[in-house]
């Protein structure tokens, strides 16, 4: 009896100790994530601007910003640009990453070294990646343009041309992020058991069939999660666009994130920009929920 009571007391004592350890983090997270998110939502219902600070707490027409969004052609266009950029670069990343992972899956020193070297684009500061591609797209100093010129095939700068600017950014984005897919697929390849491969090989399957029916089946979930992760992250793409094209020429490379940035920090329409950010946040929540539904988010929670 008294032993059980003491054990219960110890349990409570432990729970109290754990709560003390967890509390500071939760308090800080509350303060720096939930409170700003709530503030953002509140601001999105007001016409808050720099020129009219008194409007900050006016809620007489809370949906004005959202209504305006529906008729804002620049906003709609930015979503289309975002979708084009995200779809093309995520698809290219998946293909490049998958191809390289298959190529690098083996045990030699060269392959191990290459696996590390190919990580470089992903860990570089994004601003340095932007710088690298700025150099590559500037005819004066670009090895690419020099080669083309030497071959008698001079081209205009790809980022100054409205037809190619967005695809130039997609290429740079693909370069930066293919290592992510490569890493994930490499890890997934390790989990494939040998038996089905051996059995299929004995049955006379060729390499394409092995890949198509066995390897791909094992790594498909990882590819889906990779795609979703990269899709979510692609909404944040900023340094590349800021440095390479600044949203231009015209608005052809202006993604939603960038448009929100301009509304907030160039025009100081904070209420309106908050509405844009809220819409983006909702989109990210939806995609995160999708990742969670696929059962991959409970990493470390069983």
């Amino acid at each position: 009896m008294s032993l059980a009571a003491r054990a219960g007391g110890w349990q409570q004592q432990r729970a109290r100790a754990y709560r003390r350890g967890l509390a500071p983090s939760l308090a800080v997270l509350l303060l720096i994530t939930l409170v700003p998110a709530a503030a953002l939502l509140v601001a999105s219902f007001t016409p808050l601007t720099l020129t009219d600070p008194a409007a900050s707490f006016r809620f007489d027409d809370p949906l004005v910003n959202y209504r305006q969004l529906l008729h804002d052609e620049r906003f709609i266009a930015s979503i289309v640009v975002q979708l084009k950029l995200s779809a093309s670069s995520v698809l290219l990343q998946l293909l490049t990453g998958l191809g390289l992972a298959l190529l690098l899956d083996g045990r030699s020193r060269l392959l191990a070294g290459a696996r590390t070297a190919f990580l470089i684009p992903m860990v570089l500061p994004p601003i340095v990646v932007a710088l690298i591609w700025k150099i590559l797209y500037t005819p004066d100093v670009s090895p690419l343009h020099r080669l083309l010129e030497a071959a008698g095939w001079p081209v205009r700068s790809l980022i100054a041309n409205p037809d190619t600017a967005l695809w130039a950014i997609a290429a740079a984005d693909t370069w930066q992020w293919f290592p992510f897919t490569m890493l994930m697929v490499l890890a997934a390849l390790q989990t494939i058991p040998d038996e089905p491969l051996e059995a299929a090989r004995l049955d006379g399957a060729n390499r394409w069939q092995l890949f198509r029916h066995i390897v791909l089946a094992y790594i498909r979930p990882v590819l889906v999660v990779c795609g979703l992760f990269r899709l979510i992250d692609s909404f944040k793409a900023f340094p590349l666009i800021y440095v390479l094209t600044n949203g231009g020429p015209g608005n052809v490379s202006e993604v939603t994130n960038f448009y929100g940035f301009i509304q907030a920090f160039n025009f100081s329409y904070w209420g309106y920009a908050s509405a844009i950010a809220t819409v983006m946040l909702a989109g990210v929540f939806f995609l995160s929920w999708l990742v969670g539904r696929l059962g991959w988010s409970d990493h470390g929670v069983r």
């Binding site: 340095v128 710088l131 983006m280």
Partner: protein, 297 residues
């Protein structure tokens, strides 16, 4: 257990079957095909890393030589020397300071929380974990607008402290997420034994769990440092002159100081140096951190 490379060998086959014959999949291939693969890897390495190498060589080129086609040149440090004169060193120092500060803060607050989340099964644990994951996903613009307005009001705009606090929005999530996986690897029975000997929960954490996860802790710290170091968006908006960080200083070179390519390339090379160095040092854990949340292991 520490910093060996991440050849995934650990999961592999028993040593006897791999040591001299290679994996079964490779054994089936003829000699020539195997070497074709190595050649392809080398060519791809050269092709895919050439943009990066071009930046580095540009940093060492004499300024007069920059528009020349020659690949060979006498390297100089002019570009780096010109950085010493301006404000670049100060922004480099700011970057170091803000990254260190934010890393320290997030470890201090986040590590105990990660420990509690690993060892304590309470209701709502899943929700807490999910919330932490979502903070990693949220677009920075959603946080910058409220922070920008609040920091103006609180006088934290353009201060190192203010920026370090904002970096907690992503660093805290990384610490809690990653350290959980490291604490899980420590058997709970060790701490239970300590409790029987009269240790409190946090004494057990401090004397047993924490020392055993030291390599993981170091790797987590490195990741936090890199993520803070790499940030551009928050620093662009929340700093002006005093607390300006190195990535923002590079952009200022691009926009306001003409096109001194040697200087620009030198600054880019300096800024990526710590990151590339760390990558080589802790690649195994880096890989775990970069894929955190995406892989079940």
């Amino acid at each position: 257990m520490a910093f060996d490379d991440f050849t995934l060998d650990a999961h592999g086959l028993p040593a006897a079957s791999t040591a001299d014959t290679g994996t079964p999949r490779r054994r089936a291939r003829p000699w020539l095909v195997r070497h074709a693969r190595e050649i392809a890897v080398l060519l791809l390495l050269l092709l895919l890393l050439s943009p990066f190498l071009w930046l580095v060589q540009l940093a060492f080129r004499p300024a007069a030589d920059i528009f020349e086609d020659r690949l060979l040149f006498v390297p100089t440090l002019e570009g780096f020397a010109s950085l010493l004169q301006g404000n670049f060193l100060k922004s480099f120092g700011n970057s170091l300071l803000v990254s260190t500060l934010s890393t320290g803060l997030s470890l201090l607050i986040g590590v105990p929380a990660a420990y509690a989340l690993t060892r304590w099964d309470f209701k709502g644990r899943r929700h807490v974990a999910l919330w932490i994951l979502v903070t990693r996903m949220a677009p920075p613009i959603a946080f910058t607008i409220p922070f920008f307005l609040a920091w103006q009001y609180l006088g934290l705009q353009d201060t190192v402290i203010g920026l370090a606090i904002v970096y907690l929005t992503f660093n805290l999530a990384i610490v809690i997420w990653l350290m959980q996986t490291f604490f899980e690897a420590v058997p709970a029975s060790l701490e239970e034994a300590a409790w029987i000997d009269g240790c409190g929960v946090w004494q057990g954490f401090w004397r047993i769990a924490l020392p055993l996860t030291a390599p993981g802790l170091a790797a987590t710290a490195v990741l936090c440092f890199i993520f803070s170091w790499n940030d551009f968006f928050y620093a662009l908006i929340l700093t002006r002159t005093n607390a300006i960080t190195a990535p923002v200083a590079i952009v200022n070179f691009l926009q306001y100081e003409g096109w001194e390519w040697t200087k620009i390339a030198a600054s880019g090379t300096l800024v990526m140096l710590p990151v590339v160095g760390f990558t080589v040092l802790v690649r195994k854990y880096l890989v775990r951190g970069l894929t955190a949340g995406g892989l079940k292991d």
